[in-house]
């Protein structure tokens, strides 16, 4: 018998009304119209769970840890009632050959019908043996499981871009998934880690609407990655007003001024941190006083110090403007706003170019 989330919730005494409320909230958190809520409710009522195989390459497991932090939906409901997480070495009961048997069975039983979730990435040096699973290179396992998957979820910056082990000089030659798997749709969900509700939001979207989310040209879901942290940052008025933190724990830091001068990468980072925020919406890096380090951007480890001001906009005079304005008067607000407009235009232009940027493999 196929158990649906709706069945489960109702048997647990959760009212139909509450279930519909959950659907409405889910729709809202995805930025969808309230009409979509009824579609979600229908999906919860009627569908068996999609098998998901979650593989781990070179990584730090922060994506798994983030995933289990999801507040809506709760991860227990995702695992018990939305998807069938048949393989995930971080939490699965089985080990050794009993674990490996699940992979073979899934390929056969659910050929073309399962989702492959990739955390981490494969190293290519030393014949792939810098990451060994079951006595074999991880890249072999990845290729085998990708061959029969419907689609691939590239969790986090490791699978999407390469992340820390691929930072220069990339000693193991770790590469993102799209550089080794070319014949499957790949949904990149970058971030180190990605926001929990973004991860479960992507999974829920696929389960609910039975299609992959709209992606930008770099392969990220538009619904979560189409705007910069800076675009929706609650400290943005301070940027526009030319009010900046000048040193850690100074008066301006205590007043919650803009962290641009402390190296904040919010103006060039596409993510939902300033809107969805972290851990059930409690905070996000800027709100807690540290600049954004740009962890969802390709190659963010190699863009200079996290405390360097965004250097790529120096040539356009932005830093100069910000410096002049810093800690001073309302008279310079206009300049700041003008400066900001230039910054945005530059970044938009850069982004258009960026969308056609070479892969990290080509860069190397």
């Amino acid at each position: 018998m196929d158990d649906t989330l709706s069945d489960v919730l109702r048997r647990q005494g959760v009212s139909r009304r509450s279930i519909l409320k959950f659907c409405t909230l889910t729709a809202a958190s995805l930025g969808l119209s309230p009409l979509m809520a009824s579609k979600i409710a229908y999906a919860l009522d009627n569908k068996p769970r999609v098998p998901v195989i979650w593989l781990h390459g070179l990584e730090c497991t922060c994506c798994s840890e983030s995933f289990i932090r999801s507040a809506h939906p709760l991860v227990k409901d995702v695992v018990l009632s939305m998807i069938s997480l048949d393989y995930d070495d971080t939490i699965m009961a089985a080990a050794g050959h009993q674990a490996e048997a699940i992979l073979a069975e899934t390929r056969e039983k659910y050929k073309g019908k399962y989702i492959l979730a990739c955390e981490g990435n494969p190293p290519l040096n030393e014949d792939g043996m810098y990451c060994i699973v079951g006595g074999r290179p991880y890249i072999d396992q990845l290729r085998e499981m990708a061959a029969d998957a419907t689609a691939i979820l590239a969790w986090g910056s490791c699978a999407s871009w390469g992340c820390v082990q691929a930072a220069k000089p990339n000693p193991t030659r770790a590469v993102p998934i799209h550089e080794v798997i070319h014949d499957k749709p790949i949904i990149k969900v970058p971030g180190c880690p990605p926001i929990a509700e973004v991860m479960t939001g992507v999974v829920t979207y696929i389960q609910t609407f039975e299609r992959l989310p709209d992606l930008d040209r770099q392969g990220r879901p538009k619904m979560f990655y189409s705007q910069r942290i800076h675009d929706k940052c609650y400290r943005r008025p301070h940027f526009d007003a030319g009010q900046f933190v000048e040193a850690w724990d100074d008066e301006n830091a205590r007043k919650g001024y803009c962290l641009y001068k402390m190296g904040c990468k919010g103006p060039t980072t596409y993510n939902a941190c300033s809107t969805i925020r972290w851990n059930d919406g409690v905070s996000f890096p800027i709100q807690s006083g540290h600049g954004c380090i740009g962890c969802s951007e390709p190659g963010f480890w190699d863009n200079g110090s996290f405390y360097d001001r965004l250097t790529r906009i120096d040539a356009f005079g932005i830093e100069k403007n910000a410096d002049q304005i810093g800690g001073t008067a309302a008279g310079l607000v206009t300049a700041a706003v003008a400066g900001h407009a230039a910054l945005s235009a530059v970044i938009r232009a850069r982004q258009r170019v960026g969308e056609a940027t070479p892969t990290t493999e080509e860069k190397r």
Binding site: D3, H56, A94, A95, T172, R254, S283, S288, R364
Partner: protein, 593 residues
């Protein structure tokens, strides 16, 4: 048969059993054992099977950025490398941090202890003791009675357990078992009655819900979790409880939020985690395998300075116990080249002279993936490794030549041996309640119990530190960062430093050398490198291998007992195997092929 210098008998005859992947851990680990004709383990081999090379990547970078790189060594024990890294850089540059920064760092670190220990027990370890399928046979009413007998936790009605069991039943009947697929259900080594199994499964799900709330303390103080933000010289979150802009800084609402999570954490740990441990342990009291090195050699660097910049005020003490001498705890000096050394003659790295160990400041690492002649299989399809030669990406660190065990058990025993009153009371009370002698601690179960007790200790200290922060603010101190040496122009042309911490999994150290404001060398020696170490030139075996020896397997095809003992260490392989050393020429050699 051979006896190792550290007193373990190894026999590599008999049948070889391989567990790969070892699941419910962080990273990639392989375990091979030889069993005799009675299925008792007589030889054990643990192999770290991943390598990322983070320290190569750190060379030439800004030392103030190192916390973010090293934090990405591990996302499970998130923040421990970041904390160790900022301490390491501050040590090198002589930076003193404000009192509040020390308190806030302690709060973030204690938060991790509570969350990480809880998740380890329920989500990485419990299924070694708890049979999920057996829970289907439980009587919800009897389960409720058991729950109410063992704890005052409110969620304990027969209806609660009946609903949970119903959900579990439908889940199993769906035929899609998800993470519970192919578990060793029905295995003879499971000893709990169905009711205890049902209670534990209920709490598995409750703990999954609750762990996400504990970390909100890190989110408030560090902006996100996993991987919160840290700062050389203090912490990035400013305090403002009075003035313009207080909303958005650490203010009254945020302090209340933290305080509320602390109280909930204390309640959950006392009424659920500890209560479950005490309810489950009696059924396994005669399964006292897995002690390994723990009754001989233990080590802790110590952590949680009560006062800023005062290594003498560590609330978890530092020390080494050798040969089981609890009355002679020795001191540890991380700077002494004769004390901590790493060996590689059984690791996939290369030294000029592999008979000797190297102190981390002098460390060399050049990857060298080679397999011995007795290896079965091929280079890219290994069936069995040759432990006489190189067989792991984990190095073999030793303290004055001795293999030691690190982690919660080591910390609790060292604190106990040094007479810490709080720890002593916790341990004595537990031993008395279970009616077991102190030697029962030196086992797989003891390791698991020590982690639970430490979780309670951490939740209590989290309350203490939160109150300390509030008292400090009340007394007028709102400083959170020292920026005197923030500017690299204020640094000496060369400097070196050590940072230490007790990660949830054990003693963690970082060693840095700074030349002309950039990182010249960075080296980490981490808990799972100690516990999961391969053999050394003298033939000493590490803690994982020692703990597996002499354990009988009920069914060698389903080696539940191996998982149970390995999991009791809470292995973290991404931590253990990231290591690489300082020589620039060797580095460039391995970059691109």
């Amino acid at each position: 048969m051979a006896t190792t210098p550290n007193g373990f008998n190894l026999d590599s005859g008999g049948k070889r059993i391989v567990v790969d992947p070892v699941t419910r851990i962080e990273g990639h680990l392989r375990v091979e054992v030889n069993v005799d004709d009675k299925n008792v383990i007589r030889n054990a081999v643990s192999t770290g099977t991943m390598w990322r090379g983070l320290e190569v990547i750190l060379k030439g970078r800004d030392p103030r950025d190192a916390w973010a790189f090293t934090e990405r060594i591990c996302g499970v024990c998130t923040g421990v490398h970041a904390l160790t890294s900022v301490r390491c850089v501050e040590d090198a540059l002589g930076i003193k941090i404000p009192e509040n920064a020390n308190t806030i760092r302690n709060m973030m670190h204690l938060t991790l202890y509570v969350q990480d220990h809880l998740v380890h027990f329920y989500h990485l370890h419990a299924l070694d003791w708890v049979d999920v399928v057996s829970a289907l046979k439980a009587d919800p009413k009897a389960t409720s009675e058991l729950a109410q007998k063992s704890s005052s936790w409110a969620k304990s009605s027969p209806g609660y357990f009946r609903d949970l069991q119903g959900r579990l039943k439908r889940f199993v009947e769906s035929g899609q078992l998800g993470p519970f697929k192919n578990g060793y259900w029905g295995h003879a080594a499971y000893k709990l009655p169905p009711e205890a199994n049902l209670m534990a499964v209920a709490h598995y799900l409750e703990a999954l819900d609750f762990q996400k709330d504990i970390v909100k303390i890190q989110t408030i103080l560090g902006g996100k979790n996993p991987h919160p933000n840290w700062l050389v010289g203090g912490v990035p979150c400013p305090i403002n409880v009075d003035a313009v802009g207080a909303v958005g800084a650490l203010n009254m609402e945020r302090l209340n939020f933290i305080s509320s999570v602390v109280d909930q954490s204390l309640e959950f740990v006392e009424q659920v985690y500890i209560a479950d441990l005490m309810a489950i342990a009696p059924f396994y009291k005669d399964w006292l395998y897995g002690g390994g090195l723990s009754s001989k050699n233990l080590m802790a660097y110590g952590d949680f300075p009560e006062h800023a910049n005062d290594a003498g005020s560590l609330m978890l003490p530092r020390g080494v116990i050798l040969g089981g001498k609890l009355d002679a705890v020795q001191d540890v000096d991380l700077r002494d080249p004769a004390q901590i050394q790493e060996f590689v003659n059984h690791s996939w790295y290369k030294y000029a002279d592999e008979s000797k160990g190297l102190h981390p400041w002098d460390g060399v690492t050049e990857p060298n993936f080679t397999l011995g002649p007795k290896t079965r299989g091929t280079k890219t399809r290994i069936e069995a490794v040759d432990e006489d030669m190189k067989y792991s990406f984990v190095k073999a660190p030793r303290w004055r030549g001795n293999a030691v065990e690190v982690g919660p058990l080591a910390r609790m025993v060292i604190a106990y041996a040094k007479g810490d009153p709080g720890v002593k009371e916790l341990i004595d009370k537990t031993l008395k309640a279970l009616d077991v002698p102190i030697t029962a601690l030196f086992s797989t179960l003891g390791r698991t119990a020590a982690r639970g007790l430490e979780c309670l200790w951490a939740a209590q200290k989290l309350r203490y530190m939160t109150d300390k922060l509030i008292a400090s603010i009340k007394a007028g101190d709102t400083s959170t960062a020292n920026t005197e040496r923030w500017d690299p122009k204020s640094w000496p042309s060369s400097a070196r430093g050590v940072g230490f911490c007790e990660a949830p999994r054990g003693a963690l150290g970082h060693w840095i050398t700074i030349e002309n404001t950039k990182i010249a060398n960075y080296q980490c020696v981490v808990p799972t490198t100690w516990n999961g170490s391969p053999r050394d030139p003298a033939g000493n075996i590490g803690a994982f291998e020692a703990a597996l020896l002499d354990t009988p397997l009920a069914d060698p095809d389903k080696p539940l007992e191996i998982l149970r003992t390995i999991h009791s260490f809470d292995p973290c392989l991404a931590c253990a195997t990231h290591v690489i050393g300082p020589d620039g020429t060797e580095r460039s050699r391995v970059t691109v092929r």
